[in-house]
Every structure is written in C-alpha cells, then in structure tokens.
Symmetry: C2
Subunit: 568 residues, 2 copies
C-alpha cells in the first residue's frame, strides 16, 4: 500500500483518517493471509495506532508496545509500508518491534508485561539527560495480569517520572482474560469501578474510551497528552479484537495468530488427547496453562475436566509454583507452555519444582526453532537452561507417537520431567520406553555414530544416512531421546571413535556438550562433533532455512561424515 | 532450649505464652549470634508464629512461609529445638523451610513471592482430593511488591479455593519497603485505607492487628480462621522487625541477616567505591537494585547520587527491563544483584538486555557457593544460565582489584556485560585488562595447564602448584577471567595436552564445557578435565567444606595432576 506519513495524518480530516484506517486494515488482512501473523489484535488496534501517530511525534516521542504483536499499523505508518509484504519472512520485516529495523521501534518486545517497565526507563533517562519527549506504553489487558506490570506500577512513584500508560482492553489475552485485575477492569467498564487503586500507584485515570472510534479517541488522547505534563496517566481504551472483520470479531481466539498453512500434524493435539486419557484413569492429574489453552492443545482437556484445568492468565511464574505445590500436596500436575515463555519461570523451575524434586511434568511446546516470530519466540535455549538443573529428567520425542509414549511414562514418574517438542511433526508409533534409554534406530559396523535428538534432527540424520549408505558410508543412528539422564550404558558400549550429535538447540549447554562431558569425565577419548545453533540470536524465518543458516542441514552433516570416513 | 509442643501452646495461659515468646526470642538471639542467620525478621515474627501454632493444627494444616527466612520460631515449635544449635551448619538445620527436614515444613522457600501461589496449590489440591485442612501463607510486605504475589492474587478467584493470607507488615523488605502497594498498605495502617482492592481479588480483609501483642493477635487469628470457612481471608498484621532487642529495632536493615564473622574484605565494597568514582566522571551511569542496597555495597552510591540510584523493591524482572530501556535511551545502567536472584530475571536478561545488545552491566554478587543459606541461595548456576546467551560478555575477577579493573573497563564497553564474584576475598592490584583476554599467572614447560576462574579456584590452584612445583611437577596457571568471549588466541597457542579447568559453578554449562567445546569445534585433540559442582543441589554449609564435598579441593586437583604427570 502507499506510505501514509505522520504529516498527512496530522492534517487529515476525520473522514480521511477513517478511510486510512480501512486501508490499513485491508493491508494487514491481505498480508497476514499470505505471511501469517497476528491478525485479530492488529485489526483491533488500527484506530488507536493511527490516533497515536496523529497526536504524538514519533520517533522523537517513544512508543513501547507490550508483547509487540499489535505493531503492524505502527510499521505501516513509519515508512515500512513498501516492505510490509516481507512480514515475518527471512530478511524481511519482523512481526514485532525491532530497534535495528527502524528508529520508530524504540524498544523491542515479544514477551508479555515489559512495556511499562521499559517506558519508565525511557522516561527516567529523558529526565536525567534533560531531554524533551513523551513516552507511551501500550499494554493489553492480558498483559495487565502479568507480575512484571505490577512491579512496574510500583515503580512509578519511586522513579518520580511521567509516562502515558494506555491500557488496550479487549477482554482477551490469547485465551479470554481471567483473574482479579480483570474484574477490576470490568467494573470500570461497567461504570461501577473505583479508580483510586491506580491513583495510589501514581496514575491519573482517564476512561473509558472507545478505541475503535477516532471521534472519541482523538480528543481523549489530546487530553491525556495535556495531563501528562503534570504526571503519569492511565488511559483506559476499549477495543474490539478483530474489528472490521466479522469472522475475526466472532472468533478472536482462533484468529489471534494465523499460520499461512498447516499441513503437518501438531504435537499439541497429542498432548491434549493423551492428557485426557491419563486423567480419565488418574484423578490426581491436573493441567495448568498461562493463557495458552488452545495453542497448547488443551481445549479438550478444559472441556472434559473443568475442575482440574487451570488457566491462570499470563503468569508463567505463578503457574510453576502452583504446579510445584499441587505436586507437594499429592496431585500430578502437567504444565504446558511454549519453550520461550518457560524462560519466565526459570527460577521457579529450579527452586520450586526441581530443588524439591516434585513430580511436575513440563510439556514444552514450540521447542527448537519456532520460525516466523523471530528472536523472542524461538525455543532454542531450553535444553541449555534446563540441562544443568539437578533432579530434572529431559525427554525429546522423535515423533508424536513418542510424545504419547513419554506422556504415558510420565504418569508414574515420581520426579520432575520436561518433555520438549516442536509444533509440527509426524504421528509415528507409540512404543513403550524407559527413562534415560536411547533407541538405536540403525546399527552399523562403521566407526561412526550419530546421536540425534528430536524429530527434525532425526529426519535430517536419516536423509544423510540413506544417501551415504548407498555410497558405502553407512553409520549407526541413535535416537538420543533423553538429555537427562543420558543413556550411560549405551554411551559406554558404543565402540565408535566418531560421535556426531544433532540437536535443535544452542550448541552451548545442549546435548553435544553433555555427551562430550560424559566421555571427558570418564577419561574416554572420542571425537565428538556437534551440530546445533551457534552463538547468535535466531531471527525470524522458516525453520528449515534458519537451520540451514546454522549448518544444521543435510549437506553440512554429510560433509562432516565424509571427512570422518576419509579419516579425520 | 526445651521443646515446646503445640499441645502445651494450645492449653497455655496468655502469661505463659508470653514467657514462651521471650524464651524463643532468647534462643533465636543466642543461636544466630553463633551460627549467623536472619535475626531481626525472626525476632519480629515470634508472637505471630506462636499464635499460629496455638490456633491451627500443624502439620495437618499447612503453613507456607514466604522467603522462609522468618521460620526459626516455627522450627523451634515443631520438634527441632534440640537441633537448633546446628542451624545453617553442614548437616544441621536449614535456615529455611525444607520438606525433607520436617513434615511441618510443607513447602520449601527461599526466593520472595512464592507463598501465596504455593498456598493456593495446596488449597486446590485439598479441594480436589476431598481433604480437610487449612492453608496459610505468611507473606512479608517486602514480598508483596513482587510480581509473583500479584499473579497469585489474580488466581484466587480463578481457582475458587480458600486460603488465609497473612500479611506480616514491618514496613521493610531488606531495605525499607517502597512503591505503590507500600502506600496502599501505609494508608490502611493510617486508618484512611480502602480494602476494596483486596476484596476484588477475592479476599476478605481483616486488620490492623498488632502482631507482637498476643492479646490482640490470638482473637484476630481465631476470627480469621472462622471467616476462612467462607472464603479466602487477608489478615493484615503489623510487626516490629527486631522486636524485643532495642539495637535490632533501631537497626533492622543492618540486623536483617547476621554473619558470625567478617574477616575478609567484601567485593561489594569495591563495587560501591568504583561505581561512585565512575559516576563522578560519567553522568550516564545509574545503579539499580531490587531491595538489596546495603548488601550489594551501594549505600554510598545512593547517598551521593540519589537521582541516579534506584531501589525498585523485590522486583528483579522489572529492574532488568528498566536497565535495558535506560540503556536504550542512552544511559549506562549497572544492575547489582545476587547470583541466585538474577535467576528471576533470566528471561529479561535474554530478551530485553542481550537480544537488543544493550550496554547493561550485571554486577552479580554471591556467585559460586554462598554457603550457609543453602540450596536456594547458592550462586552456582549463573555461568551455566548465562554462558549460552549471545552478545553477553561474562567476566570473573580473580580478586577485588580485578573487579575494580573490570568495572573501569565496563564504563566504555558498549554491550551487555556480566561480572560475577563471591562475597568475600582479597584486595589485589588494579591492572588494566581487555575483554576476552586471560592472564597467564605462571608459565611452565610442562604439558599441563590449569585454567581457573575466580578467586577461590585460583587460590586453590596456586596452593596445588606451590606444593607440586616443589616436587618437580609444575604446571602453567592461567586466570581464565572471561567465560565469554574466551581468549581464543591463548587457547590456540597453548601447546599443552592436558587442560584442567576449575570453576566455582556447576560443571554442566560452565567454563569446562566451553573450553572443551572450543577445542572440539576446531578438531583439536586435548584432554580437558574439569573441576566444579556435579549434578546435585548444594545444601547449606561453609563454602570450603561444600567445595570439598564436590571434589573442588586441593587434594583432588593435586591427585589429578599427579596422574597426568604419570602419563594419563
């Protein structure tokens, strides 16, 4: 679409602005249909973003998006319209704000709850440097349940600075918003609310404003900007997720994020099915999620076991402690979460779950490269940040069938267990397995073995094996399905000099390091060569192309094996 | 002291109970004077704990302490009086609740903010299992600022369960409590407050109760227990930190935690001095702490630069984002924090600081084994959880002088930098150094090199070297002062076959793994043998004895070098 400049926006008539909004909405819809991305949230935020660009002066003023998935209109209005068709493609525009992409993106986000903290940092820096600009944090009501927002609220008075906090309230996080703060906001919307709470935190409250109606929104924003001269302001804006597209308005959860295609099976479906089957037989089983019921495959479980299914909102830390204590009290909790979001609960995984050796099962979805959402959503750290935690077992299924087998195993496993898997894969058989036992998929007399973890790496290894075995360069292939405990018996019995490891994770702290350490600690000399992700953040793109960019691809592995065959 | 049983407490007169309290107080004072530990907080909570034991029925009822440092009276009242003299000693009683220590400790804690989440987990498990007991969370007002408490508050209505939340309000976290919630609580204490906020979260509010006056406390607790039948209750109790000991009452910050001795110099003193000197010259420098100003050595900085020093309360996540955004806005933030508490900000270190490559300096105190506080306070994970984060440099000073040099270096370092150091050490010279450059302390023609990181490991290595060199078994000794970036040039130039690494950290994911990977990736054959902590949580005890228990001691290293000299 054409570039709409802030100068145009500032002089446009209301009628023209409304037309611009429709044009932006169409562009977003068209692009997301092709590239995938966040649809309903962006459709809901079009007017609000246009109004912000009209009233404020970006990039001099600073706009911080919470999560950042609702930034598409902002990108279209800040000189990036001509690149918008590259959204979420490798080398193209990110689906989230990125400092390196534009000076209009003053702060990169991706995980919930950071915007108010970040805005306060900008505001305080402005004060200390004697600069002159305004700072706006745009936060959804889903994020408002997150502890980080509360911590930042507590700092407004401590920091003695001024920010404009816009609460974009659509009544939904990804799943419908729940919890105490949600009720406070609902009361405010109903007209019976009490604004003193926010005043105590140092915010002047202004609401309720219809965030899809420019006629109401523009004067409210102008007024908030005026009040901001005196101190921090909370502007409570109500928007409709999916605004303008009736099927999105009707199904905001389903159209929150949209994928361009969905050919393969999803691991999450198996999670839901297996948990239901297990819960049918075992009344101790409960499921916990932090506002991601559907994406994690738990909708069925929530329907069948409503008393044993808990969506606690975007509260990853709290969900972990809740699981730990439920386990301490004799239940069998399953905590389903994306790999990248489990980073938020790192401390609680260590101290609440593992230090107390409690039987919580972490079902870690979107592990490894997750793709088009980029840096903040890749799941390439989990093996590294879990592999040194005592008492924790870590399982990596080779396919969906093996995830099922691991879940069945977990039902009687008496200690913490993490199972990490990508979004999509193939079904596969459900075969019994033991904790800490690898599976030899193909045995061969050569001096070479490949230890591969997870479906992507095993498929890659099998591709290479089929090719090279035809040339007489076969090798042993092992499904290294437990990072903790390692299969010590198998590792000791392998009479191979060349050990290749393949993992969909950072090289530092992953399977390769663990296998190499295993041999080092025993004084056994092996050549351990590892494939995985090197020392840089992984941008957005398709998993396969990103894996290739790190040398985790058939050609690179094939070359290494050829060299080993050649004797070095 | 004698064992006071709950049965005695339940039948005792008020006069007798008051005498018991004095006896408990004396026992705590006497023991902490010898063993070290948390003094002021425990003195303040004596009456409250006695009242809880009188009114409730432990261990059937469940009492969850937030942080847990105020649990001494509870330990004395639950059959552990005869072991209380072993407090914080290796093999003795832990200074925190521990499930394996007593069935009265239903849930282990150590980090702030978990108690309400944990209590809700117990309560929900009770409901689902059809059991009959009460659950009490005892939370200090300092923890009340932590995001995790807010996340748990939001869950009270979601979980539809009943807990008694006791807010033990002494107006202090470790440093004086600050922030928006603090003001809400202060208003309540002043009689002008509004209890609706808590009601919206599903809590019936009851306050203010003098928590050091049993005459007021006991009927209030009885009433709260009655109300608890209908739903969750918040009992707001005001206690005096240090109660009964005038010098503790006057200096609650200084007597929060007490060490049995303090012979060595503290790294934190140097942090404070250097930051002041740097800030004098560079107006961009700011310091941020999460309620630990004094222990981190920042009292002087806060005094000299009050506008550039921020104590945001027990909000480790928020503090990280604040630092990241201040850096994005052109300031130079230093975030001082204990190693174990930085785990709380793991996600923000990755996504806010490092993914955006922002020049935040993490000053990580109490790194490595911290000692007597045990599992939840050891700093033995930080190298593992930081070593795989792209863009982050990690420095490990060999002494306090080198910490000073690293801080001076940091002033112009344009990217994220972590400096990790233990509490105590020796002063040492301040010599210029470069990022990613090791220091060869002793060079020798043998085939053996020791790469040691940090003061403890370097002292250990030097002890071994002095002994073995006298026997003609000298080796090269290197101060491996950067885990990231490694000194690649030096590692490549080392013509040694035997590389020993020593680190005050878990073996998994630490220096040893990084060095071994460095050689593996380049196809260079070396024997890399690593000393550090193996795969278990590190309990309480003295650092030296704990290190020994993991084979990180002179005898073990000496033996390994003798074997290398003997040819394998």
């Amino acid at each position: 679409m054409r570039n709409i400049t802030d100068r145009e926006l500032k002089s446009a008539s209301l009628t023209q602005l409304k037309q611009d909004c429709e044009e932006l909405r169409e562009e977003i819809f068209r692009t997301v249909s092709v590239c995938g991305g966040h649809l309903a949230s962006n459709l809901g935020a079009v007017e609000l973003t246009v109004a912000l660009h009209r009233v404020f002066d970006f990039p001099k003023d600073k706009l911080v998006f919470d999560v950042g998935h609702q930034c598409y209109t902002h990108k279209l209005l800040s000189g990036r319209a001509n690149k918008f068709h590259t959204l979420r493609k490798r080398g193209g525009l990110s689906g989230f704000p990125k400092r390196e992409e534009s000076e209009y993106d003053c702060y990169g986000t991706g995980h919930a709850g950071t915007a108010l903290s970040a805005a306060l940092g900008f505001a305080k820096a402005r004060d200390l440097k004697g600069e002159d600009y305004e700072v706006i944090a745009l936060v959804g009501d889903g994020s408002f349940q997150n502890g980080l927002v509360y911590e930042a609220l507590g700092s407004i008075k401590i920091l003695k600075s001024r920010v404009l906090l816009i609460l974009n309230d659509n009544g939904l996080s990804i799943s419908p918003t729940v919890g105490g703060m949600h009720e406070i906001l609902e009361e405010l919307k109903g007209g019976s609310g009490d604004v003193k709470l926010f005043e105590r935190f140092g915010l002047t409250y202004r609401g309720i404003v219809n965030g899809n109606d420019l006629g109401e929104l523009l004067p409210a924003l102008e007024e908030a900007k005026e009040r901001l001269k005196e101190g921090s302001v909370l502007l409570h804006v109500v928007t409709k997720k999916g605004q303008g597209y009736p099927f999105c308005e009707r199904a905001p959860v389903e159209t929150h994020g949209v994928s361009p295609s969905a050919a393969e099976r999803e691991y999450s479906t198996a999670l839901g099915e297996e948990l239901c089957a297990l819960a049918e037989k075992d009344g101790r089983i409960v499921a916990v999620t932090a506002a991601m019921t559907d994406a994690l495959g738990l909708r069925g479980f929530f329907g069948r076991f409503p008393d044993r299914a808990f969506d606690v909102g975007i509260c990853e830390e709290h969900a972990s402690v809740l699981c730990a204590s439920m386990a301490a009290a004799g239940l069998k909790p399953y905590y389903a979460i994306y790999s990248t979001f489990l980073e938020r609960a790192f401390d609680e995984v260590i101290h609440d779950i593992c230090a107390q050796n409690l039987p919580v099962t972490l079902c870690i979805d979107r592990a490894g490269i997750s793709g088009a959402d980029g840096e903040t959503h890749q799941g390439a750290f989990d093996l590294s940040y879990l592999s040194f935690i005592p008492n924790l077992a870590i399982a990596i299924p080779k396919d969906i069938g093996e995830l099922r087998a691991m879940l069945r195993l977990s039902a009687n496993y008496p200690a913490p267990l993490a199972i990490r898997y990508p979004r999509e894969g193939t079904e596969g058989e459900v075969l019994p397995l033991e904790i800490g036992k690898f599976e030899v998929l193909h045995s061969n007399m050569s001096d070479i073995v490949l230890l591969a973890a997870g479906e992507r790496c095993l498929k890659l290894a099998e591709t290479v094996r089929l090719k090279l075995s035809g040339e007489g360069m076969d090798f042993t292939l092992v499904n290294a399905r437990f990072l903790r405990p390692l299969d010590e018996e198998l590792l000791l019995s392998l009479g191979k000099s060349y050990i290749f490891t393949l993992e969909d994770n950072m090289l530092a702290g992953g399977l390769g390091d663990a296998v190499a350490r295993f041999y080092r600690e025993r004084g056994i000399r092996k050549t351990v060569m590892s494939f995985g992700y090197g020392d840089r953040f992984i941008p957005h793109g398709q998993p396969r192309e990103l894996m290739e960019s790190f040398g985790l691809d058939p050609a690179a592995v094939e070359g290494a094996i050829r060299r080993a065959y050649a004797g070095g």
